[in-house]
Every structure is written in structure tokens, then in C-alpha cells.
């Protein structure tokens, strides 16, 4: 049912007339505790920052929780807690004394210190925001303390702060932050505040409890998809089955005849049905017969996509890194010294498949636009909607939300743009929800990548190395200033600076795009480059008769930090001991991989069992990680565990393929995620480190994939080079 326009803003008035059972409660049996009232909803109207602003991140009210504004969005990776820890550490308050507030679109204050634009991604939150947020906390503390010092006429250095209270120990006087906040907020912020030395940390480095989870376990968290607005309707949509196609014709009548359907919105490339519930809208959409003009992509087939990328990889590339004359040394071919080895690795398109499907609630009215959504890019969302409507960005309000899984899938404005185009035609607020099928088929995919590697190995050492990465450039579109000299620094991340000594080196990049929409996906460039490097190193080791760990150690003599991580994983996994037998398959194997990307070093050892039919089960995963200084060690472990599961799904199951320009997958039946019964034991060892903080949201996903592929290589003797693993290629004829 549509909501009553006159209902109270918090939704509490809804259903009061309509859904109360009129009489006869006894007829329903004994469990009835009372007559229904609607669930009181916090919804999107809260929380807002309250109190005196010390700076863009810290607001302190006279009483109650301190508002901490979060520049990076929470999508499960734990950054609302880690960002709060950074601010609260310097501010000397407890995590139980704060309220986390979503930052609005505001690049000046919340623009990413590395990306410049306002975005959460690339596993960069800790490395980018730790210092600015600690400074914000320390600055606020200094302002509060200076008010108390002036009031008591004592040096600020004599005051101590704890849990939001300023105390002058000698005189026993005390003031709460709230009591001095208004005066402090009027002060000029100091420009150089001292940050705590790490030995005085009370929060940073501790296993602090997450601040977002208590609401999540009782169903109280409001994700974008849970927004309810007064008078809101619901929209279901269908885009052209052939990517990029346009609508030819649709007869609206069958949908309009359905109960609960209010409107059909026909756009050039999308048909949306608006109804009183999501279900009514979906049913209306199902009743429609649409015809589409497929356009230029009608001939896009997967075999051609693979082949075109392979062909592109033989064309001219842009040099990314050149050390010595690798090309010359490799050109000598088989006649040169040692062993010449070449291989190519191919990675498929992948969908994000967050559990929360794409959704966006939009209300266009009176020259303004209000948006309720969970996004990693609030500024891009605002600009996208403004462009659709031809209004100034300031006229677009973006209310951000906790996200039900990001993984890069909320780094684009496209869903907001689509929802705004629909909402523009609808009176009142409308919640646009993608079906799972539309979410997968209309996703912007992890690109299809091709990696060609050539190396010469002499006496167990790599003396020449050529790594060519072929794929599209996300950055050229998403962050044009970062696309320099024809090089996509994301696509080649992990190839340009591998942790190993590889002799004379050439790394180059071929930009190749193919008409399929693409974007960032958990692990980004290193998913393709690290997979390829680590697979190739196993090939080199086996072709030269060397143990894969021993082979890598020989390339790490000048990289003790990476060697320590590799050794830690190998020791913990019992590298060199026999791989245990498994009930899942007769062939078992153990594989290793090492990476240095996102500022973090990880080594992984995976064990697999392979059935005669070629099905692979990952039976155990060990990860050792040096991620530099850690804010919350439990979050680091959780991100590695989760990233590993995400990566296993990719290497075992995931691929998006095209036939006639149509995505062949549609839902979890044919785009398989890992399930609990397929999840191995995952052991994580964090090495203590005083190096700069690295990222941790993505590395687990990156590192497990080559480790699993290498374990399958060990178990079967066959190296698979196109992902995901193809059972038919490792089936054993009985």
C-alpha cells in the first residue's frame, strides 16, 4: 500500500487506520500480545550532526553523544568503527559516547585525501584518513581544553581529559566537553596540534567492538533499500536485455490493468513500472511485452570477447616500467641462456552481487531533488542526479546510508542517474529497486583482463621479465586526472612493482575496451595482475623443478619484509608436509601466493581437494599479513577472512559471459556465491608492524585466488589459465 502522505515523518502514524485488525483477535489464537502498531522507524531522517562544530568531523552538543562525521562510508569493512577510533583516540572519548554520522556530499571537507573526489574505495580509508581524523580529534580537544584553561586561569598543559571530561587535578575542578563546547566552537582552531604518541593509545590498536553491529543484529539498521518516505511508491525496472539496446515498443495497458500498479514509465532504454508495493510493480513489469532494438552490441559473444582481447594484447602497448633490456633478452627466444617461458592468464567479467541489490529512492519536487541511497560516491551521485534534472548540484540532497555490501558496486553514479530519470516522471517519492536479475545483468562488471607474461630463468633466478596487461581503463572515465600518459595505474597495479627481484623488466599496458560496461570490483587491478604473476611464478618453479616457496624465496633476498610474510604463511601452513587426504576428492594439493598491493603484504597457502570430475573444494586457507600499523586488529582479521571467501567464489564459480550481447547469468542459481558448506577453515596471522598502514578490504580477495589456482596445479599437474576454474579441463578420465 502507498503510505499516507499525512503520516508523521517518523512513520509512526502509518497503518494506524488501515492495518489494525478490526475485532476478533481471539480468532487468531494464543500468541497475540496486542493489536498491531506499525514498526516505529528511525529511517533516513536521522542521525544528523548536533552540537557545536569543532571542525568538519567533530560536533559536540551540550549533552549527549558527540557527533562524528564519517568521510568514508560503511559497507561492512568496519570503517565507521576505525574512523571513530581515530577521532575518539585523540579526543579522549569512548566509542560508547559517539554517534556516527554519514557525511553529506561536500568535496571541500570530505574529499578523499588521495583521490580528491569524495569516494570510499581502493582499500584506502585507513591510509588516507587516519591522520586527518586524528588531527580533527586532537584539534577539537585542544579547543575544548583551552576554554577550560581560560576559565580556570591555569595552563592548558595542567589539564587532563578522559571520557569527555576536562579535569584540573590540582584543584579538583572538572568540566564536561558539552559545557565548554559552544565557546570552543567559536575559537580559531589551532593549526598545529600534537598527536598522541602510540604508547599512549587507548583505542587504536585494540580489539574495539564495532559500533555498527548492535543495530544490525536486531534488524534496526536502515540500509538504502529500507528507506520509507511519506507517500512513497515503488518501482521495478527492466533495461534492454542486449547491453546498450533501446526500447522499440511497449504497450502499457497490461501493466496498468494489474492490481496495485499506478504508472508505467517509458524511457529510451528502460521501462519502469510504479506500484503500491515492490511486488505489485514487479508483477506489472512481468505483464509487459517489450520489444528492443539491440544496437551495436548484438554480436557480442564471449568467444569473441576473449579473442578480441587476446588480439589486442599483441598490439602496441604503453611502457609502464622498463629496467634494462628485457625485450632484447627475451627476444633471443629458446636459443638464449636458461629457460624461456611464456604464458597468458585471462580473467572474466564479474558481477558485484552485493546482497543488497541496487536501489535508490528519489523525490523530485519544486525544483529540488532528494535522494536516499547507499553510495560510495555521494558527490558523483549528487552531480549525476543534478545533470539529469538540469539543476544545480546544491539543489540535490543525498542522504547516504549504510551499504549492504559495496565491493566497488556503489562506486558509480549510474544507479542514481537511472532512478532519477524514472523519478522525474513520478509524482512523489519513489523507491526504485533492481530485481536480482537486473542487478546482475545491468551491473558494471569487473573488466575482462588478459595478462601475458614472458620470463627467462637461469639457475633458479629470473633474469628477464615481461608482463603485459591488457584491459579497459576504469580510471580514464572515473578519475581522468589519474589516467596519465595512456597508463591506467589501477589496471597495472601489482604488475609494475612486484615484490620480487625479476632481473631486466618490462611492464606494459594495452588499453582495450569492448562495449561491456565495467567498473571497480573488490581487489581491482591486482586481482588480475597478482593472479597472473603468482600463477606464472608457479609455472616457472615447476618448469625448472623448484619448490614454489623455495623459488619465491630466491627472488626475495632483497625484500626481507615480504620474505617474512611468505615464511610466516609457509610455516603456519606446514609447507613441505604431505597434504592431508580429503573426503571431497582424491587429488589434493597445496598452493602459495604472495602480494604487495594496497600498501599491504600478504602471503597465502591454500589446500584443495579435486574430484575425478574436476570439482574443486578449498579445504584450508592460511594467510599471513603485514598490513603496517593496525587500527582494529579484529577488523583486519575479519576483512581477510571475508575477502578470502569472496576470492574463492571468484576462482571457483564466478563469471559473467555474453551471448548475442546479453548477459547469460541472472541470479544466484547461475552466478554462484560461496556457501557455508564450501567455506574452508581460514587461519590468519597478523605480523606486528610499525610500517605505514596498508589497506585490507581487498587483499584477501586478491591473494587467495592464485593460491587456490596454484593448489589445483599442484593437485592435478594442470595449470588453468582462464578463470574461473573449468572442471572439464581437470577431470580425470577413469
Amino acid at each position: 500500500m502507498p503510505l499516507d502522505p499525512e503520516e508523521r515523518r517518523d512513520g509512526a502514524g502509518r497503518l494506524s487506520r488501515r492495518s489494525l485488525l478490526r475485532g476478533g483477535a481471539a480468532a487468531l489464537g494464543g500468541l497475540v500480545l496486542g493489536i498491531s502498531l506499525p514498526a516505529k522507524r528511525a529511517r533516513a531522517d536521522k542521525p544528523r550532526a548536533v552540537g557545536a562544530a569543532m571542525n568538519a568531523f567533530v560536533h559536540i552538543p551540550t549533552q549527549g553523544s558527540v557527533s562524528l562525521i564519517m568521510p568514508a562510508v560503511e559497507m561492512g569493512q568496519g570503517v565507521y568503527t576505525s574512523q571513530a577510533m581515530c577521532m575518539a583516540e585523540e579526543l579522549d572519548i569512548g566509542l560508547d559516547q559517539i554517534e556516527a554520522i554519514h557525511a553529506p556530499p561536500d568535496r571541500e571537507h570530505y574529499g578523499h585525501p588521495i583521490f580528491y573526489v569524495q569516494a570510499t574505495g581502493g582499500s584506502t580509508t585507513t591510509m588516507a584518513w587516519t591522520e586527518p581524523l586524528r588531527k580533527a580529534g586532537a584539534t577539537a580537544r585542544a579547543m575544548l581544553v583551552s576554554v577550560a584553561a581560560a576559565e580556570w586561569n591555569v595552563p592548558a598543559a595542567e589539564l587532563v581529559t578522559e571520557r569527555g571530561v576536562i579535569t584540573h587535578t590540582a584543584s579538583g575542578r572538572a568540566l564536561s566537553y558539552g559545557e565548554v563546547a559552544d565557546r570552543a566552537g567559536r575559537l580559531q582552531p589551532p593549526t598545529d596540534v600534537a598527536l598522541k604518541s602510540p604508547d599512549r593509545f587507548r583505542l587504536i590498536g585494540t580489539r574495539a567492538r564495532r559500533i555498527d553491529t548492535p543495530d544490525k543484529v536486531v534488524g534496526r539498521t536502515v540500509y538504502g533499500i529500507d528507506v520509507i518516505r511519506p507517500g512513497m511508491t515503488f518501482a521495478a525496472l527492466m533495461a534492454s536485455p542486449v547491453l546498450g539496446g533501446k526500447l522499440d515498443h511497449v504497450d502499457e495497458a497490461p501493466a496498468l490493468a494489474m492490481p496495485g500498479v499506478r504508472q508505467v514509465v517509458v524511457l529510451e532504454d528502460i521501462v519502469a513500472v510504479v506500484g503500491d508495493t515492490t511486488w505489485a510493480a514487479e508483477q506489472g513489469l512481468c505483464a509487459l511485452h517489450m520489444t528492443w532494438s539491440p544496437g551495436a552490441n548484438a554480436s557480442l559473444d564471449q568467444a569473441r570477447l576473449w579473442a578480441d582481447t587476446e588480439t589486442a594484447s599483441t598490439g602496441p602497448g604503453v611502457t609502464v616500467r622498463k629496467e634494462g633490456d628485457a625485450a632484447g633478452k627475451l627476444a633471443a627466444g629458446k636459443r638464449g641462456a636458461g629457460t624461456l617461458i611464456e604464458a597468458s592468464y585471462e580473467l572474466p567479467f564479474l558481477a558485484h552481487a552485493s546482497m543488497e541489490v541496487q536501489n535508490c529512492t528519489v523525490h523530485v519536487h519544486d525544483g529540488v531533488c532528494e535522494i536516499w541511497v547507499g553510495t560510495q560516491v555521494p558527490g558523483y551521485a549528487q552531480a549525476g542526479a543534478a545533470q539529469v534534472l538540469g539543476i544545480a548540484p546544491e539543489k540535490v540532497t543525498v542522504n547516504n546510508h549504510l551499504i549492504g555490501g559495496g565491493f566497488g558496486g556503489r562506486l558509480e553514479a549510474a544507479p542514481v542517474v537511472t532512478a532519477t530519470r524514472i523519478a522525474q516522471k513520478v509524482a512523489g517519492p519513489v523507491k526504485v529497486i533492481w530485481s536480482r536479475e537486473q542487478d546482475i545483468r545491468q551491473d558494471m562488471f569487473r573488466p575482462l583482463y588478459h595478462n601475458r607474461l614472458t620470463a627467462r630463468v637461469e639457475n633458479g633466478r629470473v633474469t628477464a621479465w615481461h608482463h603485459r596487461v591488457t584491459g579497459p581503463s576504469i580510471l580514464a572515465r572515473w578519475l581522468p586526472p589519474a589516467f596519465k600518459d595512456g597508463i591506467d595505474s589501477d589496471a597495472i597495479d601489482g604488475a609494475a612493482e612486484p615484490p620480487y627481484a625479476l632481473g631486466e623488466m618490462l611492464v606494459d599496458y594495452v588499453r582495450h575496451e569492448n562495449g561491456v560496461p565495467f567498473s571497480f570490483w573488490r581487489g581491482v587491478g591486482p586481482n588480475s595482475t597478482v593472479f597472473s604473476v603468482e600463477s606464472f611464478l608457479d609455472l616457472l618453479a615447476r618448469k625448472t623443478g623448484t619448490d614454489p616457496v623455495t623459488f619465491r624465496r630466491g627472488l626475495l633476498e632483497r625484500n626481507p619484509r615480504a620474505l617474512a610474510v611468505l615464511n610466516a604463511a609457509a610455516a603456519k601452513a606446514g609447507w613441505g608436509s604431505p597434504v592431508p587426504q580429503s573426503p571431497f576428492g582424491r587429488r589434493t594439493g597445496r598452493g602459495v601466493a604472495l602480494m604487495h598491493a594496497f600498501g599491504s603484504l600478504l602471503a597465502c597457502v591454500a589446500e584443495v581437494a579435486v574430484t575425478d570430475g574436476g570439482d574443486v573444494r578449498v579445504t584450508k586457507v592460511v594467510v599471513a599479513a603485514d598490513v603496517g600499523r593496525v587500527i582494529n586488529p579484529d577488523t583486519v582479521v575479519a576483512q581477510i577472512q571475508g575477502g578470502v571467501v569472496f576470492g574463492i567464489a571468484a576462482v571457483l564459480h564466478n563469471r559473467i559471459t555474453l551471448a548475442g550481447g546479453r548477459v547469460e547469468q541472472s541470479n544466484f542459481n547461475d552466478y554462484r556465491l560461496l556457501r557455508i558448506n564450501e567455506t574452508p577453515a581460514i587461519e590468519v596471522e597478523l605480523l606486528s608492524s610499525t610500517q605505514s598502514s596498508g589497506g585490507i578490504g581487498e587483499p584477501g580477495t586478491v591473494i587467495v585466488q592464485p593460491a587456490v589456482a596454484n593448489a589445483v596445479f599442484a593437485a592435478t599437474g594442470t595449470q588453468l589459465t582462464r578463470m574461473p576454474l573449468d572442471a572439464s579441463l581437470i577431470a580425470r578420465s577413469v
Binding site: S36, G260, S354, N677
Partner: protein, 150 residues
């Protein structure tokens, strides 16, 4: 008009009888703790209890609920086992994005109500219908065992 009992309260429902319980809960009753994930019973994020049994609410027409008691994530904390699971989830920091966790918790609570001390096979059998894209399975397994011991 259909009447259903959710978390001990009776609601009169205007949606057609064939409307899945999921959309009645979310769009009509405003109980949005129960999530939409796939619409085809592949992911389990919409799991609720119907007379204590874990059910995919995206597949249950509201007209078939009848007099049976529906419990959602908003109400399961008032049961002993539900509260234990929720506490275990916090004690072990199971949750990441949290979107699937209402379904995970409902499935786990139904499992523990039927089997107070499940082994790994029982956990696999009861929980393999519930997807988690963040990959919290290692902790979900530990969480169930933790709740069983508490």
C-alpha cells in the same frame, strides 16, 4: 483482507493473498529488518520463522500464512534462543555489512531451537541456504557454536 500475526501482533493486510510475505512485511507493515536478496529462495536473506520453522518469506504467499505465528528479526530477540544468537553474533563480531545477517540469525535460531548442540554437518545443512557476500561464514559457524554453549 488477510490477517496475519507477526511478532505477536495482528496485522490486517491489504495486499493480494498471493503477495509474498516478504513484501507485505517490508512494504506494507514497514518491518524492513527482513531483506530482499534474490526472489527465488537462493539466498535466504528473507528468512523468517513461521511457527518456529525457518521459511523463505519471498516464497510464501501471505494468504497461506493463516493463523501461524510469524517471527521476524525484529521479534526474535524476545525468544531465548534468538537473543542468544544475537548476543553471540556481537560477542564474536560476526557481522560485516549485515544485510544478510537477519536471515542468518533467523536460520541459526531455528536450527538451535531444533538442535541445541549442532555439529558442523548440522550447521552446513541448516545454513547453506543463507548466502553472505561479505564472507562471514567462519564466524557464523563459530557464532552458532558459541550460542549453543551459552
Amino acid at each position: 483482507m488477510t490477517a496475519i500475526t507477526v511478532n505477536g501482533k495482528i496485522y490486517e493486510v491489504a495486499s493480494e493473498a498471493r503477495t509474498p510475505l516478504l513484501w507485505v512485511l517490508r512494504d506494507e507493515l514497514g518491518l524492513t529488518g527482513t531483506k530482499f536478496g534474490c526472489g527465488i529462495a537462493q539466498c535466504g536473506v528473507c528468512t523468517v520463522h513461521v511457527d518456529g520453522v525457518a521459511v523463505r518469506s519471498c516464497q510464501m504467499p501471505v494468504g497461506t500464512v493463516g493463523q501461524r505465528a510469524v517471527t521476524t528479526i525484529e521479534g526474535v530477540g524476545s525468544t531465548t534462543v534468538g537473543a542468544r544468537v544475537q548476543k553471540a553474533w556481537l560477542d564474536l563480531e560476526v557481522v560485516q555489512c549485515g544485510y544478510c545477517q537477519p536471515g542468518q540469525i533467523m536460520a541459526a535460531a531455528a536450527l538451535l531451537a531444533a538442535n541445541p548442540d549442532p555439529d558442523d554437518n548440522a550447521i552446513d545443512a541448516a545454513m547453506s541456504g543463507n548466502l553472505c557476500r561479505c564472507g562471514t561464514y567462519v564466524r557464523i559457524r563459530e557464532g552458532i557454536k558459541h550460542a549453543a554453549r551459552s
